[in-house]
């Protein structure tokens, strides 16, 4: 039977069903509202748990077995250890050894270190992944080799899907750098310290069974309990859960590339000229080399003007911590820590606060932090002339990035994408992006080394910089300049098969990714 497609509100054709489940096509910003009640896991009774509070099991396999692992279940893990994670691969190795099939892996993100997962996709242990796919996994999925269809969500969208029951987590495996045998855990201390465990919060509260694994087991109580033991079924002590130097490696050096520094400086100048940098403002810049440089330039401007920011949203790192300690920022509201300076600051400084997708991004929350941020700096692989942007696929169609908090951050007051006009020969501003991840109505400014394009919807910004020396151009002019330099890109042909769905923050599908033909 041929798949039926419907056109969604950004003009993309969306299949009616994905992985056998009906799909709600994207309907516009804040248009789709789920009704009903929050999903709830089965009730537990304390009488069923050890009186001495000791929930230790011998090993991961035993815990998985006791948790009732069976065919078709959804198993979640988290990316606090980024490319240094040693847990997810072991979970599925154990599942494979137990002969379980057709699992759904529900990570908060995957990394190149998860290449061994391919083996479990091939041998039928895993049916499909609902989470980001990049590197070798992205390539595997892009070529149509995964049994089911991938589903990509933002950090906020993941919380939304768990809360409204779109995704039911059967077993959550939460890696905690420090934990006690009751299941209390945190990311502040231990060999694998990563700062916080916010991405696992929803899983701890909503999964049917929760397993905490740690390589730093301490006597009760583990303080603070970022993960509360009262949600936890089993605790497993392991030799090593993460590789420290890969957990906190990040891209934590300011770029040395003169071209990127140029874009960073121009971005900061734009913020200044547009009147965004005012006493008590707030900002969020990522952890990429360019974003770090922008943070630095913002710091220079703040020092010069003698003003400070009320808060900055992390990913935190040395540079942001330095600004906090210098008094340029009142608070860091941190979603993840990218280096040891960030971990240390979160541990010691009450002004460095851990957050979760619930506080920052959740669609079903009674508000969240994202729209409170004055300016957010984000990346993109492509932007089209209507300001729609892509962050998950390369122009040749390969999955290369997760959505992360990207979609959620689009709700900030000013969304700025500093990007080069072309990478190698690939123009970044296109007639149409390969995959729409964010609607143009939420994207305000594109800063390239060859000019700044402001979304015509933002008349206020256009007015604010009207008399400045900034190189303001239209997005069409930038697109033409890119094509003049690179040549007009040829249309890319894709296969028929849908290999992944891109969810919007409300659970609707904003676009799908088609199979790459080699």
């Amino acid at each position: 039977m041929a798949t039926k497609y419907v056109k969604n509100a950004v003009g993309r054709m969306i299949p009616e069903k994905i992985n056998g489940k009906p799909v709600i096509p994207y309907q516009g910003v804040h248009q789709y509202k789920t009704t009903g009640r929050r999903y709830a896991p089965p009730l537990a009774t304390c009488a069923d748990y050890p009186e001495d509070g000791n929930k230790l099991e011998d090993d991961l396999k035993t815990a998985l077995k006791k948790a009732g692992l069976k065919n078709g279940m959804t198993v979640s893990t988290h990316h606090h250890f980024r490319n240094g994670d040693l847990v997810a691969n072991q979970v599925f190795m154990a599942a494979s050894e137990l002969g379980v099939k057709d699992l759904v892996w529900f990570p908060s993100a995957s990394f190149p270190c998860h290449e061994p997962i391919i083996e479990y996709l091939e041998n039928g242990t895993i049916h499909h992944i609902e989470g980001s796919m990049n590197g070798p996994l992205g390539r595997f999925a892009s070529l149509g080799n995964m049994k089911g269809t991938g589903v990509l969500r933002s950090h906020g969208g993941r919380y939304q899907a768990v809360q409204d029951g779109e995704v039911v987590i059967d077993i959550a495996v939460i890696a905690a750098p420090t934990a006690d045998s009751f299941g209390n855990g945190n990311g502040l201390t231990g060999e694998s310290a990563c700062g916080l465990l916010g991405f696992a919060l929803a899983d701890s509260q909503y999964a049917h069974k929760v397993i905490v694994v740690t390589d730093n087991l301490i006597p009760f109580p583990c303080i603070p309990w970022q993960i509360q033991g009262n949600y936890v079924d089993y605790v497993v002590e392991m030799e090593q859960i993460g590789i420290p130097e890969k957990i906190v490696s990040g891209t934590t050096q300011i770029t040395k590339s003169p071209d990127r520094l140029f874009i960073a400086e121009l971005t900061a100048k734009f913020c200044d000229e547009a009147g965004i940098i005012q006493d008590g403002f707030s900002f969020q810049a990522g952890a990429g080399g360019t974003s770090l440089a922008i943070g630095n330039y913002l710091g220079d401007i703040m020092r010069e003007k003698g003003i400070k920011a009320r808060f900055a949203r992390g990913g935190s790192n040395q540079y942001l911590v330095d600004m906090l300690e210098e008094g340029l920022i009142d608070y860091i509201l941190d979603g993840q820590t990218f280096d040891l300076a960030g971990v240390r600051s979160m541990r010691e400084n009450p002004h460095h606060v851990n957050t979760s997708p619930f506080t920052s991004y959740n669609y079903h929350g009674k508000g969240n932090f994202a729209p409170l941020v004055d300016v957010v700096i984000l990346g993109a692989t492509e932007v089209d002339i209507n300001f729609n942007a892509n962050v998950v696929t390369h122009s040749d169609g390969y999955l290369l990035h997760g959505i992360g908090g990207w979609q959620n951050c689009l709700f900030s007051k000013n969304v700025i994408l500093p990007i080069p006009l072309f990478r190698d020969r690939i123009p970044i501003i296109r007639d149409e992006v390969t995959t729409i991840c964010g609607p143009g109505e939420l994207i305000d400014v594109i800063v390239t080394e060859r000019g700044i394009a402001i979304n015509p919807r933002r008349k206020d910004l256009l007015d604010a910089v009207k008399n400045s020396q900034l190189p303001i151009r239209t997005i069409d002019e930038l697109k033409e300049e890119a094509e003049k330099i690179c040549g007009k890109p040829e249309p890319v042909e894709f296969g028929e098969r849908v290999i992944a769905a891109i969810k919007w923050v409300d659970g609707t599908v904003i676009d799908v990714v088609k199979q790459v033909l080699e």
Partner: protein, 408 residues
């Protein structure tokens, strides 16, 4: 038949470049094996370009392998042409379209505070050079190009002159030391190069030889614009001959000093304080001023130390230099800031230019400021200071009307 030629660069670190390997065959037509990072978006256009070039050189049977790391057409064309020319003798040259932006002319006394060196065989660094707004860019065929890459670098530089928009920077090329440098000329002169740097100059004769060769090529190309020269003095003998070199032809626009080679020639280590080259730098400034041309200082090689660079530039300015070389785009801003006139200099210059304007409007032949008479060279220098202040963003372009309003 069966001749082979290769050009370009390959490897995991290479970006915006490609590697071309051509093998001539006796039959079977043209086969193109394309391994490109941008295959999905540019497969057809890369193949078309390759076929056009092979056809231009009448290559009918051959295997062309292209390993492309996102090279722009001007690079692809240069690499393929270089591979072809290793396989066959041809007077032909495959010229890409000349972009209108790169047909702009220059003037002898244009501002030359900064000139950014770009290795001639590294196209990646050329693409965004102009966005950093140096006064000039130098496509270098000399020291930054390996001996075995000299021939193919010429084609990259030629194509860059025709196709890469440097956003208003003066387009300069540093040719090789003579006599090899003379061969470089035919690849750059017909392509609207503004200024040619001649390295390791030691006599007026060398300058005249280059100038004559340029004229010949221009005549042949039916062009008649001026191409200026900037001799670089990099030896004890060169320094001694500074005046003779500076005044060798009218087309010498500036005299530059190269301190790495000069200090080596002296046998004195190059120090931060630079006492060992004090005489040489004075000599260059003096010779330039005696000829009425610009004096340009050497490069500063520690690209990480901006504060040290600033000190060097300030000293350079105080010795009378007009500009300096850069080997990294981040140095440009520091150099421009340091060469910018001081508030006091600007203020004085404004007064002089206003006095001149007033005298002119009243038809007076003599300009005076207060009780002092002002000579024409002083007016000229004041105007230069004003131009520099405007360029450095220290004075609005419409300063004359603005200040009058404020004053009234």
């Amino acid at each position: 038949m069966g001749k082979k030629g290769t050009a370009g660069n390959q490897g995991p670190q290479i970006r915006s470049d490609c590697f071309a390997a051509l093998e001539l065959k006796s039959k079977g037509g043209v086969e193109i094996i394309l391994n490109s990072k941008v295959n999905a978006l540019y497969n057809k256009s890369i193949r078309e370009l390759a076929l056009q070039i092979l056809d231009f050189f009448q290559v009918k049977n051959a295997k062309l392998e292209l390993v492309d790391r996102g090279a722009l057409p001007f690079v692809l064309a240069a690499r393929i042409e270089a591979a072809v020319k290793q396989c066959l003798e041809s007077e032909g040259e495959y010229w890409l379209e000349m972009i209108p932006e790169n047909q702009s002319l220059t003037t002898k006394d244009r501002t030359r505070r900064s000139r950014l060196y770009l290795p001639g065989n590294t196209p990646k660094l050329m693409l965004n050079a102009g966005i950093h707004k140096p006064d000039g860019i130098i496509l270098d065929l000399e020291d930054s190009v390996a001996q075995d890459k000299k021939v193919e670098a010429r084609l990259v530089v030629r194509n860059a002159l025709r196709q890469v928009d440097f956003y208003g920077a003066e387009r300069m090329v540093r040719i090789n030391q003579l006599p090899l440098g003379l061969e470089d000329l035919s690849y750059i002169v017909p392509h609207h190069v503004n200024l040619i740097l001649i390295p390791k100059c030691e006599s007026a004769d060398q300058i005249q030889t280059v100038d004559k060769k340029i004229s010949e090529i221009l005549v042949k190309a039916e062009m008649d614009h001026t191409i200026y020269l900037m001799p670089i003095l990099e030896s004890a003998l060169g320094i001694i001959k500074a005046y003779e070199i500076a005044s060798a032809t009218d087309n010498v626009a500036a005299l530059a000093i190269g301190l790495e080679d000069y200090t080596a020639d002296l046998g004195a280590p190059r120090t931060k304080e630079g006492r060992e080259s004090f005489f040489a730098r004075n000599q260059v400034v003096n010779a330039a001023r005696a000829t009425g041309i610009q004096a340009i200082d050497s490069v500063f090689s520690d690209v990480a130390d901006m504060e040290a660079l600033r000190q060097v530039v300030l000293e350079s300015k105080s010795l009378g230099f007009d500009g300096m070389g850069c080997i990294h785009p981040r140095q440009i801003k520091v150099i421009h800031e340091a060469f910018a006139p001081s508030e006091e200099e600007i203020h004085q210059a404004e007064k002089i230019v206003r006095a001149f304007d007033e005298a002119t409007s009243q038809g007076l032949g003599v300009v005076s400021l207060g009780s002092k008479m002002i000579d024409p060279p002083v007016v000229k220098r004041a105007q230069k200071t004003i131009d520099l202040a405007v360029k450095s963003g220290m004075l609005p372009e419409n300063w004359k009307t603005l200040n009058v309003k404020q004053g009234s």
